[in-house]
Symmetry: none
Subunit: 412 residues, 2 copies
């Protein structure tokens, strides 16, 4: 069943709000195995609403329109749809009474344009609105299913899940998605390793999506049952893990911080962090996980050289000789912090987040990350690109990834 | 100039992300007085991209396509547009070199599919991507303007504002928006103070939008010129400021951190922070501003009681007597930190971010925030609602707001 979602609302075309209704409806339809092929947005203009609706009738089997059901003169979706189909609008007496009740309760006078909301096209089915005054409409006509929903998300969402989803025909089958999250491989390097799968595999499909500091692979399987879809996803995930190995750090909703937290819990190790250019973001990520006080002891945001010396006991000569952004300083930060805080592990970051502060030898984006453990210190050098926030984020993800790889390798 | 925005991406049709690019582009175009009549979303399917593009050519003068410019086999927007116009793709040698530079710098091997990104339709103009590898394209053909932008918002947004907006023709008449950001007043308390304006004012219109820790008021004015629209906005802003006073903390793109930073710069004061429940987020916000090393000296994430005692010199008896989440501990954290770090100001936060750790006497969301200055310490108690991340965010915003109000009041 090919589906088109048409949102009606000038506020969308003025960029005042994003079309979150289409996102929500699409997600719910995908879970039910119904394919959405088009999203369209038009303004509160009956001619363009009619044009969009007529086009949808030529290509889609299910057409969902949102917005334009309210009491004002701007609200004309219902009238337009009825007009295109040549259907008259009739008063729904039950909803008319309901509206009168609502207005009596609010102690507000009900005006003529409020009554207009209880009109529905002949032959249509009214969808009750438990969160507002405009009802929705379910209409089957000429082999098409047309659904009209109110625009406000808190009215549209419950109406769709509680009423529309039940009315939609059962498609044999479901569409199930799974996301694998990858770090430390560029999008193109990753694609080379799995080029044949990307090109040839159709169920599940595999779609890459580059994020700031990570790449997501979304697997989408269609199958008769949820169980079969899971089997298809498992098989492809197994294949991908063989190619991508430890670059895959998490699945679905799990974040890098969640992954690192679960490893720290499992290994029962404590950690402290010292940050220069990332300014607290690493500590923030590590403490976003509930229960993080079990492993996170303290963080130091050592922005000034003075604070590096006083709080971490760095040798002023070291900073003078190598510069605050150097492997030597990163190593010393991590090592000193670990000793002073008596934690199992210490992570230290020093770098240049920009936009100022860089030069030819040490450009913006240069970052050193050191991890100190009982058996020694490792340090990596990175050259990140992006603006200040992106560089901070990429540096923090790289630091968490170093921690993840370390924790995954040690025994115990 | 009628405009259509076509977003290409199956992830949009599956409801995995909302079409925030269309919102952003529409907002910027409205400011320039350019009418957007249609948003369309289609999947990564060359047939449907071509169909949507051909339809747009029949009704729009300016067509902006986003997404599908990357290196993978899925990325086919550029190829489809060139094909509809019958244009060949040619290698842009400058961008080819740029790509080679980027890959050399990242120490990554550049693969064949990366080179594909440097291909542009004959006669087109390349739009530089400062945040990624896929350039944008500006193409004038058959009386139409066609713009291709990369899908990731962090690449699309700067490319559009820095390059495309300058290339677009000037229009008669503009729609201009301004956002006033409000903190410390609930949405309904705010609405009560300005109810008459919300109900009656039509140019500019005033639309409230509640965010996690702040409320935004969006003013939208229509006028013949930018200057006239500004005058309308200024008059309404003046009216609103009289009603809302110091609760208005910033305008438009300015964030609370920007505001606080500019006050710290102006007063030439330095700050240090000590955080418990917010776990580094306060330091992260304060260091998100470029040049923050001028005022931000250091941050302490004192998660454990031990770190509070060792790093801040708190009396163990104080924690024992009042608990780590108490006014006494917050005050002592701020005072000790200010003395130890020799900063002008010190902000301290202690609280319960949840979801665990609360009880009847000290529930989740209880937060104490103390600000120490030369003339003394002030402390406020808050009861925030929300999940862990929301409570962290609200606590940080409240702390920054205390700092803002303090800085705004002192002389000098």
């Amino acid at each position: 069943m090919k589906t088109e979602i048409i949102a009606v609302g000038t506020e969308l075309l003025l960029g005042q709000i994003a079309n979150t209704n289409a996102r929500y409806l699409s997600e719910k339809l995908a879970e039910k195995g119904i394919d959405v092929y088009w999203h369209t947005v038009v303004g509160d203009n009956s001619e363009r609403v009619a044009e969009a609706f007529r086009l949808a009738l030529t290509r889609a089997d299910l057409i969902i329109l949102s917005g334009g059901l309210g009491p004002t003169a701007d609200d004309l979706t219902k009238e337009t749809v009825a007009d295109v189909f040549g259907l008259v609008l009739e008063m729904d007496e039950a909803w008319e009474k309901e509206l009168e009740h609502i207005f009596a309760r609010l102690e507000r006078k009900m005006t003529d344009n409020n009554y207009k909301q209880a009109l529905i096209p002949r032959g249509a089915r009214l969808l009750v609105n438990n969160h507002g005054t405009a009802p929705g409409i379910w209409l089957e006509h000429g082999g098409k299913i047309v659904v009209l929903l109110p625009g406000p998300p808190r009215e549209l969402m419950p109406m769709f899940t509680e009423q529309v989803l039940q009315l939609l025909p059962e498609r044999n089958g479901v569409i199930l998605s799974r996301v694998l999250k990858i770090i430390g491989l560029g999008e193109s390097a990753m694609e080379e390793r799995i080029a044949d799968l990307l090109a040839n595999q159709t169920n599940p499909t595999i779609a890459p999506l580059a994020k700031h500091a990570e790449v997501h692979l979304r697997l989408t399987a269609k199958a008769a049952t949820r169980g079969l879809a899971e089997v298809l996803l498992d098989a492809t995930e197994f294949n991908l893990l063989q190619r991508l190995g430890e670059a895959v750090f998490a699945r679905d909703e799990e974040t890098m911080a969640d992954k690192v937290a679960s490893l720290l819990f499992k290994k029962m190790m404590t950690i402290t962090v010292a940050e220069s250019c990332t300014g607290g973001l690493l500590a923030h990520m590590l403490t976003n996980v509930s229960g993080s006080s079990a492993y996170f002891l303290q963080g130091q945001v050592v922005y000034s050289n003075r604070s590096k010396i006083e709080l971490l006991g760095l040798q002023p000569e070291l900073i003078e000789k190598y510069g605050a952004v150097s492997e030597e300083v990163a190593r010393s930060m991590a090592e000193n912090l670990r000793k002073r805080s008596a934690s199992d592990l210490a992570l230290a970051i020093t770098g240049i987040a920009g936009p100022t502060g860089g030069n030819a030898e040490k450009p913006v984006g240069l970052v050193f990350i050191a991890l100190a453990a009982a058996e020694g210190i490792s340090c990596r050098k990175f050259n990140f690109i992006g603006n200040r926030e992106t560089i901070k984020e990429r540096a923090v993800m790289a630091a968490l990834n170093m921690l993840r790889l370390y924790l995954a390798e040690i025994n115990g």
